[in-house]
C-alpha cells in the first residue's frame, strides 16, 4: 500500500472520475480502514445513545428565532431597522441549516427517525443541497475523507482558489452551482460524477425533489414580481447568500490546510473551541475529529466524547480566530507549493501516527521549502 503524504510531481486531479480517483482505489486509500481511538464498548454505547430532548429543544429555539427574526425583517422592511433582523434570519436560514442538514442526515440528532427526516428536508431546502445527492455524497465523504479523487466534499482544493473561498462567504459560487445542479436534475439529468456515489434506485428521488424546489422558487419569484417587492426573496432563497458567512467560516476550519490522502482523522480534521452561539448554530461540529472518528455519536454528546479521547488527539485549536491564523497562511503557502500542509502534532499520551501509511518525509521536505 502506498498511502502516503508524499509530494506529488503533478497537479492533483480532484475529479471523481479522474486519475487520482483510480489511483486511490489502486493504492488502497479508497474505503480504507481508518484509525480509531480505543474507547471501551460500555462508554461508547452511552455516548451513542439517542435522545429526542436536546434536538427538540434546539429546533424549537431555532425555528422560533427564525420566525421572529423573519417577521421582524418583514415588519421593518423598507427601513434600516430591518437589517439586524435579516442579519439574524440570514444566519439561521443560510448557516444553521448546514449543521441541521448534516446531523439529521446522519440520523443522530433525534432518536425518532421521522423528526430527523423532517428537519433534514427543511434544512436541505434552505441550504440548497439536494437531500438525495448530498446524503450520498456525505456518505462518501465519511468513507474517503479528503482523499483526492474520492471525496466529493473537499471545500478547498489545492492550490486553493481563494477568490472562490471569499465569494462563498456570501454563498455566491455554491448557490450558483446549487441552482444549476437543481435545474439540471429537474430536467432529469444526473451527472456522471453524481452517478459514482448515488445508487441508481435513488436517482429518480433526486430528480423529483429538484422539480419540487423549482416550483417553490418559481412561486417565490412570481410573488416578488406580483407584489413589486424583493421581500419574498429576502425570506426564501436570498438568505442562502447573505446568511452563508457563518457556515463557511466554521466549515472551512473542518479540514482546511490539513493533510490529504491519509487514513487518520487526527491528521486531516480540526477540532476548534468556539463560543456558545457559534456552537448552537454549528451544532457542535467544531468537534470535528471526534465526529469523523465516531459519526454515531450525536452532536450533544460530542463534548463528552472529546473529554474522553482528547489524550489521543492533537490539541484543539483554541478559537475560530486562532484557526484562521494558522489556516490562511497555509492557504497562501499552498499557492506557491501545493504540497504544503499543516501537520497536527500529537500529545505524548497519544498513539503515534502509523508511519507505514503516513510517512510524510517528502511532504515535510516540501513544507520546509
Amino acid at each position: 500500500m502506498e498511502a502516503t503524504l508524499s509530494a506529488m510531481p503533478s497537479r492533483r486531479d480532484y475529479s471523481l472520475l479522474g486519475r487520482d480517483a483510480k489511483r486511490a482505489v489502486e493504492t488502497g486509500l479508497a474505503a480504507a480502514e481508518w484509525y480509531h481511538t480505543d474507547v471501551p464498548r460500555k462508554q461508547m454505547k452511552e455516548l451513542m445513545q439517542r435522545s429526542d430532548g436536546p434536538a427538540i429543544r434546539d429546533t424549537i429555539i431555532w425555528l422560533s428565532a427564525l420566525v421572529l427574526s423573519g417577521a421582524g425583517g418583514a415588519w421593518f422592511w423598507g427601513t434600516w431597522w430591518c437589517v439586524p433582523f435579516f442579519f439574524v434570519y440570514g444566519v439561521l436560514y443560510g448557516s444553521s441549516t448546514d449543521s441541521r442538514w448534516h446531523e439529521c442526515g446522519h440520523g443522530t440528532a433525534f432518536r425518532t427517525q421521522w423528526m430527523n427526516d423532517a428537519v433534514y428536508q427543511i434544512a436541505c431546502f434552505m441550504i440548497m443541497r439536494n437531500p438525495v445527492t448530498w446524503r450520498w455524497s456525505h456518505t462518501r465523504h465519511h468513507t474517503d475523507t479528503i482523499i483526492v479523487g474520492r471525496d466529493p466534499e473537499i471545500a478547498v482544493m489545492r492550490p486553493p482558489d481563494l477568490l472562490r473561498v471569499v465569494l462563498n462567504f456570501f454563498g455566491i459560487v455554491d448557490a450558483w452551482h446549487a441552482m444549476t445542479d437543481m435545474v439540471r436534475n429537474a430536467a432529469g439529468n444526473i451527472s456522471p460524477a453524481e452517478k459514482t456515489f448515488i445508487p441508481e434506485q435513488e436517482q429518480p428521488k433526486a430528480i423529483r425533489i429538484a422539480r419540487i424546489w423549482i416550483a417553490i422558487y418559481a412561486a417565490t419569484i412570481a410573488l416578488a414580481i406580483y407584489s413589486g417587492s424583493f421581500l419574498p426573496l429576502m425570506l426564501v432563497g436570498l438568505p442562502r447568500l447573505y446568511g452563508a458567512w457563518h457556515h463557511v467560516m466554521t466549515g472551512l476550519l473542518q479540514h482546511g490546510g490539513l493533510a490529504e490522502n491519509v487514513i487518520d482523522h487526527r491528521l486531516n480534521s480540526r477540532t476548534v473551541h468556539m463560543n456558545p452561539i457559534s456552537r448552537f448554530i454549528y451544532w457542535n461540529m467544531n468537534y470535528h475529529v471526534e465526529h469523523h472518528m465516531f459519526p454515531m455519536v450525536p452532536y450533544h454528546a460530542l463534548p463528552r466524547l472529546h473529554e474522553l479521547i482528547k489524550h489521543d488527539l492533537p490539541a484543539p485549536t483554541p478559537s475560530i480566530l486562532a484557526g484562521y491564523r494558522e489556516m490562511v497562511p497555509a492557504f497562501l503557502r499552498q499557492l506557491r507549493n501545493e504540497d504544503y500542509f499543516l501537520k497536527r502534532e500529537l500529545p505524548p499520551t497519544a498513539k503515534p501516527y502509523r508511519e507505514e501509511f503516513h510517512n510524510d518525509n517528502d511532504a515535510v521536505a516540501a513544507a520546509a521549502e
Binding site: 474505503a31 451513542m48 445513545q49 439517542r50 446522519h106 443522530t108 450520498w136 468513507t143 435513488e202 459519526p295
Partner: protein, 104 residues
C-alpha cells in the same frame, strides 16, 4: 447440512446490544433484544463491510457505526440509507446458558 455452533454465553451480551462472533473465517453479529431474545446476522454491513458489532442497537434496529445505515436485525431488512441490501440472518437458540447459531 447445517450445524449449530456455540457463539457465546447468554450473559455475555447486554440487553439491547450486539456482539461480534467469528467462526471458520466468517464473521457474525449476535444480538440480544430489549425483550431478551437473541438473533444473529452476518457481521458486516452490506454497504461497506464495516463490523456491525461496533454499532448501536435501538429496539429492533442495528445502526452501522460508519455511515449510520440501519437494518432490522430480526429480519435482516435494510431500513435506512445508505444501506440498500438486506442482511442475511441465522437461526438462534439457547442451550444451557449458551447462544447457538445455525450456520448454513
Amino acid at each position: 447440512m447445517s450445524d449449530w455452533v456455540e457463539a457465546c454465553g447468554a450473559d455475555d451480551i447486554d440487553e439491547e446490544d450486539v456482539m461480534r462472533f467469528d467462526h471458520d473465517g466468517r464473521t457474525f453479529a449476535i444480538y440480544r433484544s430489549p425483550d431478551d431474545e437473541y438473533f444473529a446476522t452476518d457481521g458486516l454491513c452490506t454497504h461497506e463491510k464495516v463490523h456491525l458489532a461496533d454499532g448501536l442497537v435501538m429496539d429492533d434496529i442495528i445502526e452501522c457505526p460508519k455511515h449510520n445505515g440501519r437494518f432490522n436485525y430480526k429480519t435482516g431488512a435494510a431500513r435506512g440509507a445508505p444501506v440498500c441490501v438486506n442482511l442475511r440472518t441465522y437461526p438462534v437458540k439457547l442451550d444451557a446458558g449458551k447462544v447457538l447459531i445455525q450456520i448454513g
